[in-house]
């Protein structure tokens, strides 16, 4: 985006905020609080906790795969954009990857706001048509025999990928396990990193 366009958008955002404030429809402090929340308090660390719990607790894993929204709420996460959260389990035979082809639907409470590549037209259109190539470009090469399932997020359903637990992570506690669970692994464009 050019500086000129950036200036234009800056002015329009300021104009909109001031008009809505004058109309008594908007409290700037509420906007501040929302922005602060999404910048600082919510992000992939939440999803990583969910994944780590599922790795160490088989009963939790079953609940998570049965009803993602409810199991994730057990850990205190929920709210906008997660009313119907479905958890997709990666296995040696099946790899899941998530996209929103129409816009940018994404499970905010467990992953925060989406990265720019997730919103980019190239990812949104290509990952459906040439999944393996896109994943390889992003650094994830899957063996020929692995079935890849692409899930298109919608207004109703948001997805979280439960990555495979890295080999060599036996005996690690939940906190240590959560560390290498990246945002990209929970979208399905990467693996959880090996034990750290």
């Amino acid at each position: 985006m050019s500086d000129h366009e950036d200036d234009r958008e800056t002015l329009r955002a300021e104009a909109l905020e001031s008009l809505l404030r004058e109309k008594g429809l908007l409290d700037p402090a509420a906007v501040d609080a929302i922005v602060r929340f999404y910048e600082q308090d919510v992000g992939p660390m939440n999803g990583a906790k969910v994944v780590a719990r599922a790795w160490v607790d088989p009963a939790y894993r079953r609940r998570l795969l049965d009803d993602g929204t409810r199991a994730i709420a057990e850990l205190g996460f929920g709210g906008p954009q997660s009313e119907h959260l479905v958890v997709l389990e990666n296995t040696p035979a099946v790899h899941n990857v998530v996209v929103c082809t129409l816009c940018s639907c994404y499970p905010w409470p467990v992953l925060g706001l989406p990265p720019s590549w997730y919103k980019d037209p190239a990812y949104r259109s290509r990952v459906v048509r040439e999944t393996r190539a896109v994943l390889a470009e992003m650094g994830l090469t899957l063996e020929e025999g692995v079935e890849i399932r692409v899930w298109d997020s919608s207004a109703e359903v948001r997805y979280l990928v439960l990555p495979e637990r890295p080999a060599g992570s036996e005996g690690l506690g939940e906190e240590a396990l959560a560390t290498p669970v990246t945002r990209d692994a929970m979208i399905g464009v990467a693996r959880a990193k090996g034990a750290v």
Binding site: E9, L11, S18, I34, E39, C103, S116, K119
Partner: protein, 107 residues
């Protein structure tokens, strides 16, 4: 201006990426959520506008900006609902642009 990119006061980032690329992006995001939480419109109504704005931008020749689509979707929705017209917004933005040089824009 230098920004501490790694210390405790580092800007918010997600796996190495800033959540918002510019302050106006965070404002339009926050305004949208605040209005929706206040019940001025439903999330699905906004999402439909966002999808339309993204599709329109992808058909056009202008550069890709996700939050420009977002801002356009919000403007269109507020205008359609009679909450804030585009003309009203144009006038206010123009007035703000006329401020004396050196005036600090909000953030």
């Amino acid at each position: 201006m230098t920004v501490d990119l790694s210390g405790p006061a580092a800007p918010p980032r997600r796996n190495g990426e800033l959540v918002f690329a510019a302050p106006w992006e965070s404002r339009v995001f926050g305004i949208t959520l605040a209005l929706q939480e206040a019940g001025l419109f439903g999330w699905d109504e906004f999402r439909e506008r966002l999808i339309a704005a993204i599709a329109a931008q992808e058909r056009g020749n202008a550069g890709w900006s996700y939050y420009a689509c977002w801002a356009g979707a919000l403007e269109a929705l507020l205008a359609a609902r009679g909450i804030c017209s585009v003309a009203e917004l144009d006038v206010r933005a123009e007035r703000l642009a006329m401020r004396a040089p050196g005036h600090d824009h909000r953030r």
